[in-house]
């Protein structure tokens, strides 16, 4: 076999060797750009599962859930979680229009989360309320969130015939710091839990 018969083998060997040596540089240069930037926002039950959320609550009893944020925005983000309470008729966040509820925040939590990282926060709460039998409604006095008592006097929820209970919705809205406006803007994410305020 002539010397030139080894040409293909020689070129292949040199090519593979060159590629091997170039691989650290290529791995840095040939990176597919990320196209999806978003934030995950969730609530888990006290066992870190999505199956045993509290629903029937009793006066002053404590319940706990875990709040979580997953950052996939490509940069470290500064989040603000607003905790709000509503009955069936009050303003709710709209996931289609990406608008927040007009209700005031009862409690705020801030979080700084690095890209591709998650952040978790335990949230323990209890309700203090009484049943007004004449008006067939439950009147709330206070909401205790992580040891902080928030006055919610004036909050009422009437009997819901379909669900057969006095319902209230504790929901959390995710806001994000916007450097351009030097303030927080609604990030279009909200999670919440409905509770039946039992009176027996």
């Amino acid at each position: 076999m002539s010397f030139h018969g080894y040409g293909v083998l020689f070129v292949a060997t040199v090519g593979i060797l060159a590629l091997l040596i170039a691989s650290p540089g290529l791995s840095r240069l040939l990176v597919l750009p990320r196209t999806e930037f978003f934030t995950e926002f969730w609530i888990l039950d006290s066992n870190h599962r999505a199956e045993d959320y509290p629903f029937n609550v009793t006066r002053t009893a404590y319940y706990s859930v875990f709040l979580g944020i997953g950052n996939r925005l490509g940069h470290t983000a500064y989040y603000l979680v607003e905790v709000k309470l509503r009955n069936q008729t009050q303003s709710a966040p709209n996931s289609f229009n990406r608008t927040s509820s007009s209700l005031p925040s009862l409690f705020n939590v801030t979080a700084f989360v690095a890209d591709k990282r998650t952040w978790e926060y335990p949230l323990a709460f209890s309700f203090d309320y009484r049943l007004n039998e004449e008006l067939s409604q439950v009147e709330l006095f206070s909401l205790k969130l992580n040891g902080v008592t928030v006055d919610v006097t004036g909050f009422r929820t009437v009997w819901d015939w379909r669900s057969r209970g006095f319902l209230c919705n504790l929901f959390l809205e995710l806001w994000i710091y916007d450097a351009a406006s030097n303030g927080f803007r609604y990030h279009g994410r909200s999670v919440g839990l409905w509770f039946n305020m039992t009176t027996s």
């Binding site: 076999m1 002539s2 010397f3 030139h4 020689f10 070129v11 060997t13 040199v14 060797l17 060159a18 590629l19 040596i21 170039a22 691989s23 650290p24 540089g25 290529l26 840095r28 240069l29 940069h75 470290t76 500064y78 409690f107 705020n108 939590v109 801030t110 979080a111 700084f112 989360v113 690095a114 890209d115 952040w119 902080v148 710091y177 450097a179 030097n182």
Partner: protein
Amino acid sequence: MPTLKSSLVLIILLFFTSLFLVTVPCSNAVAIGQSQAVSALDDAESAVVSAYQAVLKADEVGANVSGLLFQLNEAGELLTRAHVAYGLADFDSALELADLCQERLIGFVADADALTKAAVRERSFDFLVNVIGSIVGSVGVVCGGLFVWFYLDRRYGKTGGQVQ
């Protein structure tokens, strides 16, 4: 009787005067406490935002910001508690917590800047070694291969199948 009447009026006047003298300084103290708390909260918020922007810069150049974020989350928690205290009209606690938040961030921006500079240096070195180095290395391999090829071609190519 007139003496009794005038002394009664005097007592009532004295009561209201003393009530006024007691309540005015109290309300002033509350107002001062509130304004101090508002000012401290504003300062703490500005400090947190500055710290976040410093972290963002460090993050952009690839610095490991996990330690800074832990510190920043602690400061954020203090700021939240300060806001809660303010909401409950506990201005002293709000002031104290806002000050604590600011204290937690003393030297934070400088640390973040130092991390940013170190990350920039590391990034330049990494680029030099891994990108430039590997490209130069692979070009060298290709050139070396060509050189060897032409050398062998010149030496053995003409003799064809006589290569042993």
